[in-house]
């Protein structure tokens, strides 16, 4: 039997800009076991509910993660709105959906870039990030911010997009389609890219269900699981079917995200076409006093927002469970038995967000 070695992976390493630490137990070039440990980005922000009023807390929750910032803000608002029984106007729900889907696009393009960087295709990385800038421009035009834009508030949204603005967004996105197609065709069809992704890190349907994976990771293994199906926001009024793939390997996970890019464009177009008139927010009176669990489909998967109020301006507890948390067990399982050289691919294809995980 060959000798076992432990390779520490991180916290400073070339795959992710974020510090994550893994101990990889290897035998020759094969990983036998992977042991994650976290805490480099733990801030303890959930405990800030004791110091911030529930209306201000939305700014803190938005800063859990700069990539899915809008979704976190929405999730928090949804949780407190559920707690207080606030009904958000339809127009606000449609606008939220538009920004959320745009966030998904920016997140997936960012991820495609990082994946390309991970398998050593630098120009593909640059092209992904170049396309992503168009989405950021839309954010900037509609909200004023590029990555963290605090447009979601309790009871609705802060800013409206007028009919011309909506038309322009639809036009810009339609123009992006051809470019995204050209880009993603390389990811899905190129021989050397496929060589790195196909058959790597296979997670079967049963394993995915057993490990309770969420988001694109679950959908790539054939599970039709998407919280957008529960009809929150505008999703109940839109034609929508989650992107599901069967293979469960890195290529399938890439394919799911590529399909979701086009799906997001489609959803935004639908929202823009059927945008209802009316108010964009309702006033919030009183304080939350119950408990409520809200869920969101973030770009990385399902997230939980659990709020407990006690009738005062300060919540008793705000708990956020982010998608990466739930995908770490699956990552640990797929890492067992893989080649050392494939470790970056496996870590990247769960699309880990460490600052989400540790909060």
């Amino acid at each position: 039997m060959s000798k076992r070695t432990i390779i520490p992976f991180g916290p400073q390493h070339p795959v992710l800009p974020e510090p994550v630490h893994l101990d990889l137990v290897i035998e020759d070039e094969r990983v036998v076991e992977a042991i994650p440990s976290i805490g480099y980005i733990h801030r303890g922000l959930e405990k800030l509910v004791e110091k911030r009023e529930f209306t201000e807390m939305v700014y803190v929750i938005e800063r859990i993660c700069g990539i899915c910032s809008f979704g976190h803000g929405w999730g928090y608002c949804k949780s407190v709105e559920g707690n207080m029984g606030i009904v958000v106007p339809d127009r606000a729900e449609f606008l939220r959906t538009i920004w959320h889907e745009l966030s998904r696009m920016h997140s997936h393009l960012l991820w495609l870039g990082l994946l390309a960087d991970g398998f050593g295709f630098e120009s593909l990385f640059m092209h992904s990030w170049r396309l992503r800038e168009t989405v950021l421009d839309i954010f900037e035009k509609t909200t004023g911010g590029r990555v963290i834009f605090s447009v979601c508030k309790l009871g609705g949204v802060r800013k409206d997009i007028d009919a011309d603005g909506l038309k322009e967004i639809v036009k810009l996105l339609a123009g992006m389609k051809a470019e995204i197609k050209e880009l993603t065709d390389v990811f899905l069809e190129d021989y050397s890219v496929k060589n790195r992704l196909v058959g790597v890190g296979v997670l079967s349907r049963d394993e995915a269900a057993e490990l309770c994976t969420v988001g694109p990771m679950a959908r790539a293994s054939g599970l039709r699981q998407d919280i957008r199906l529960d009809g929150h926001g505008a999703y109940a009024k839109l034609a929508f079917e989650p992107a599901v793939e069967e293979d469960g390997d890195c290529h399938a996970r890439c394919k799911v995200r590529v399909r979701e890019l086009f799906q997001s464009i489609d959803l935004i177009t639908q929202c823009a076409e059927s945008m209802p008139d009316g108010e964009i927010s309702v006033p919030v009176k009183g304080s939350p006093s119950g408990e409520f669990v809200a869920r969101m489909e973030q770009p990385r998967g399902e997230a939980y927002y659990y709020s407990i109020g006690n009738g005062s301006k300060f919540l008793e507890r705000m708990r956020v469970r982010t998608p990466t948390n739930m995908n770490i067990p699956a990552m640990v399982k797929t890492l067992q038995g893989c080649d050392l050289a494939d470790v970056p691919m496996l870590i990247l294809t769960i699309d880990p967000c460490i600052s989400c995980t540790e909060r």
Binding site: P17, Y40, K47, L48, E358
Partner: protein
């Protein structure tokens, strides 16, 4: 072109940042802002780097990591704190696991505000850092000379102490001192 004195190489470390500033740092390198065309390179090796970009506030876990990166960087070096969290702890200042801004651990030369800091602001911060770098470079020979003098003073004091404790006879002590003087 004489005003472009150097294309700094930068190293980036994510403290306990929310990723917002990190993706903006990366956005500086990608086609829209593309600072690489000026020869600015994001390196992973602290010994290659001139400018240290730190995003996010500091928690106890990453104090040693930040210190190590800083100490490994060759002189002259500049630290740029990017975003309000790196500047002061920002919105997370009161969290139980947060120590504060980057300046609680290492000296910071340039502070870039913003949440998240915009790429333009980050580039501006790095350009400001270039000015600091030039100043530091100009001061470097003097600084090194001072450091050397200090080191010598310390080693002389150590030697004198050593001499006293082992009680070397007068002649040998004088010879040792003479020899030391020659070396300098």
């Amino acid at each position: 072109m004489s005003y472009i004195t150097k294309s700094p190489w930068v190293i980036h470390y994510d403290g306990s940042s929310c990723n917002g500033c990190d993706i903006e740092v990366l956005a500086c390198l990608t086609p829209m802002y593309d600072v690489e065309r000026f020869g600015i390179i994001n390196t992973g090796n602290p010994k290659h780097a001139d400018i240290f970009l730190v995003t996010g506030s500091v928690n106890e876990q990453n104090i040693p990591v930040i210190k190590q990166i800083y100490e490994q960087m060759p002189k002259p070096k500049v630290v740029v704190a990017i975003g309000i969290c790196a500047t002061s702890g920002g919105v997370f200042r009161e969290c139980y696991n947060i120590m504060g801004g980057v300046d609680t651990v290492i000296p910071v030369d340039v502070y870039v505000p913003g949440c998240a800091a915009r790429p333009e602001a980050i580039i501006d911060g790095v350009v400001k850092g270039l000015g600091v770098l030039a100043e530091k470079r100009a001061r470097l020979p003097q600084e090194l000379a001072e450091e050397r003098a200090q080191r010598l003073a310390v080693s002389e004091a150590d030697e004198a102490e050593a001499v006293i404790t082992v009680e070397i006879p007068g002649d040998a002590k004088a010879a040792a001192e003479k020899g030391d003087g020659q070396n300098v």
